[in-house]
């Protein structure tokens, strides 16, 4: 009997502990915001933690600012720098800084702070600002950046370097706190969950209308959309925030506005031009004629993509070759070219043969990218297109790490590659120069073309945009003439807001203009 009592007590205790812990975890968060007349607060959902190794994400949170910002057309505009100029020899950049700016901790922003931030930035991200020799302070509001050789993408590269208060960095260059100059400052960060921002009353650009912004990290895209539909979040931001297949449902919802803009990423087909069958330009050209990129965008991306006709995307409008360089969807022309190259269907099975072997290739896809973009569907559409002209294409998805190794070893015949770049000069150089990418988002190239090497190197040094553009037009012509790759499409970034949110302007590099956004009565 006594034993029974003991067990009763123990079970009761266990139950109480269960309940206690559960309730304790919930308390504290019960006192959520009290509703006033249209409170100027928004909650935005996104698919990643907006705080990383280098503090709050500069574009998504705007806690940090850069010397130079890029507008929606990716043209450099004054940020914390008001003007910049380059010397005759292209080596020295003189940058004038904005006056009257303060960090969130009250430290005034000046030349010393700019030099501090750039020195720190180039320590942790070497190479990105070009071959920097030294940074000099001229006076309180002017600094000079001196390169050892001309580096034309310099101004755009400044976009990657945030101005940070010295109090935010420890002796090992770690960011211990996010202290910038931006319109919003960090109030609270729960890793993996949320970041709460409050407005910076001392912002140099005027006081933002929103008082508080909460960024919620919601990893599952379906949950993100349902949270927006249920009104638990007011916006979905960031690249990849909404997937193309989700957009039609939201478009049909009268309470939600779906917004789109050029994404920063464009995609192309790469092939190994050094070994058969793709060492023959006629075969490569046949592939591009065989593919119907219009229907590819329609089916695989629900129409949320822009077909490309040259190797520079419409994102960089001024740098894109004005003429149509690539032609697609002409299967008769594709068959003719294959025949010229010696690929003919001799036994009537619908597959072309050359030297008694069937035309069979493998497209290797990197696993990480298959998860991020509809590469598999795209490859399947291509597979059907190529089969029409008598080519069998197998599709194989491999781990991204293994894919890179295979690329380096030359074991990949054909693949799909994403390219991103804020600087058209660097993007073109990284994609087509024989030394491969200086930035690794691109690929070790499948070809070596001395003329392209020359042109891209010249463009990297040419600080006059108009002249550099002409150099890159030439590169685009060569790429198209020799079909060194096939441009597929430029992706579209999809975001959405509830109908009581005003003032949000999409930016291709997912910068959020928090200072212009406000809330109206629903």
């Amino acid at each position: 009997m006594r034993m029974n009592k003991k067990i009763k007590t123990i079970s009761l205790a266990i139950c109480l502990v269960f309940l206690g812990v559960v309730l304790a975890g919930c308390a504290g968060q019960q006192a959520e915001e009290a509703k006033v007349e249209v409170p100027q607060e928004v909650i935005a959902g996104l698919g990643r933690d907006p705080v990383g190794a280098r503090g709050a994400h500069p574009y998504l949170t705007r806690v940090f600012e850069q010397l130079v910002i890029l507008d929606a057309e990716m043209k450099p505009r004054p940020g914390l720098a008001t003007s910049w100029e380059v010397s005759e020899d292209g080596l020295t950049w003189t940058i004038r800084l904005r006056e009257g700016v303060k960090f969130h901790d009250g430290t005034p922003f000046n030349a010393e702070m700019a030099k501090f931030s750039l020195d720190w930035g180039t320590r942790v991200r070497p190479g990105l600002l070009g071959p920097v020799d030294r940074i000099e302070i001229v006076n309180d509001y002017i600094i000079k950046v001196i390169h050892s050789e001309p580096y034309a993408p310099f101004v755009r590269s400044l976009f990657f370097f945030v101005m940070i208060s010295p109090a935010a960095i420890d002796e090992e260059d770690r960011v211990i706190e996010s202290i910038g100059t931006g319109p919003f400052k960090v109030e609270d960060h729960q890793p993996g969950d949320k970041l709460v921002l409050i407005r910076n009353e001392d912002y140099w650009g005027g006081i933002p209308r929103l008082e508080r912004v909460t960024l919620r990290y919601i990893p599952d895209p379906t949950t993100r959309v349902m949270a927006l539909e249920a009104g638990e979040i007011d916006m979905i931001i960031d690249t990849g925030g909404i997937l193309p297949e989700q957009a039609p449902v939201l478009e049909a919802n009268p309470e939600i506005e779906v917004m789109t803009i050029h994404g920063v990423v464009h995609h192309h087909i790469g092939f190994d031009t050094t070994t058969p069958p793709f060492d023959d330009v006629r075969v490569r050209k046949a592939i591009s004629y065989a593919i119907d990129t219009e229907s590819l965008v329609r089916y695989a991306l629900e129409g949320y993509g822009t077909v490309m006709r040259t190797s520079v995307p419409p994102l960089h409008k001024d740098w894109m070759h004005p003429e149509t360089l690539f032609e697609f969807n002409d299967q008769d022309r594709a068959r003719e070219l294959l025949q010229e190259a010696g690929w003919v269907d001799t036994n009537g099975d619908g597959i072309v043969e050359g030297d008694r072997e069937e035309f069979r290739v493998t497209m290797h896809l990197a696993g990480g990218w298959v998860g991020r973009w509809p590469y598999k569907t795209i490859a399947e559409v291509m597979q059907a297109d190529l089969r029409e002209v008598g080519i069998i294409m197998d599709i194989e998805v491999v781990d991204t790490g293994l894919w890179r190794e295979m690329m380096e070893r030359g074991d990949v015949e054909m693949t799909l590659i994403p390219i991103a770049g804020i600087s058209p000069r660097s993007a073109v150089r990284d994609t087509f120069h024989s030394e491969g990418g200086m930035t690794v988002a691109t690929n070790p190239p499948f070809f070596s073309h001395p003329r392209i090497d020359e042109l891209t190197e010249a463009a990297m040094k040419e600080t006059d945009d108009a002249k550099a553009q002409r150099l890159l037009f030439k590169v685009q012509e060569i790429v198209a003439e020799e079909v060194l790759m096939i441009p597929l499409f430029e992706e579209v970034m999809i975001n959405a807001v509830r109908d009581n949110i005003r003032g949000y302007k999409l930016h291709p590099w997912f910068i959020v203009n928090w200072e212009d956004i406000y809330v109206v009565a629903p």
Binding site: V22, G25, G52, G127, V175, D193, M226, T439
Partner: protein, 312 residues
Amino acid sequence: MLTYVIRRMGLMVFILLGVSVITFSMMHFVPGDPAEVIATERYGEEITTETIEFVRAELGLDQPVYIQYFRWLTNVLRGDLGYSFRTDRPVLDEILTRLPATVQLALAGMLVALLIAIPVGIVSATRQYSAVDNISMFGALLGVSIPNFWLGLLLILFFSLYLGWLPVFGRGGIEHLILPALTLGTGMAAITTRLIRSSMLEVLGQDYIRAARAKGLKEKVVIYKHALKNAMIPVVTIVGLQFASLLEGAVIAEVIFAWPGIGRLLVDSIFARDFMLIQGCILFIAAMFVLVNLLVDIFYTYLDPKIHYEAK
């Protein structure tokens, strides 16, 4: 008893050591360049080869694997689990900030499972082959078969979007806990119900139950005081293991409901090749498993006085 516990704790050290060696080597034999993955994770798409080399040197990834391991091990012995490659925050902080969310969800899921499983299991056993039994066993089959992610999304769709009763995602008040706990709890309830049923059936066939009934004890007393306690021994083992696995994070439920727990932390760090955080998480999870197992073993002695541990 105390010696037993001490011996088990001593064994734990070797288990953890083994686990850490295995994880460390597995992580380093995965193809691909970790420095590149980490650099991309840290800085986004625009990274230079120089940045990658810098990251490699900074994180010591240019050293041979065994040196990296021993450096890590000496730091751990000093109580330093290192810094996350991806977020640059201390690994211990990362785990500890996620722990309350994970424990809360695990307990709630467990509570849901037991609240369903115990009564249903008992009723099914005492009324074997009745309509109640058939329905509950069919329910259990359904519970085991329904995938977590599907159930989770369906619950959100119904309770949050159509009815508007419960929030879609996130951690907050008790209302935030209900859907993830249901998602986690149903699968577990299904297994546990079947287990309790069969265990009860076995016990109910024993002689001492017949004796109790012959003595004229009330059926309620026979079942709840005599049978249930003995039937719980195998159940406790399984429930303990299930609980331990809940503590390592219920990845799917955490992802669907944007619940900031350990499971998501581990998955995020695996994708980012965040070796330090992976090692830390795995070590933590292994320790949890060993500890919960030990607790289960100790709990047996309360359930059944015939079981006791002595040092030999």
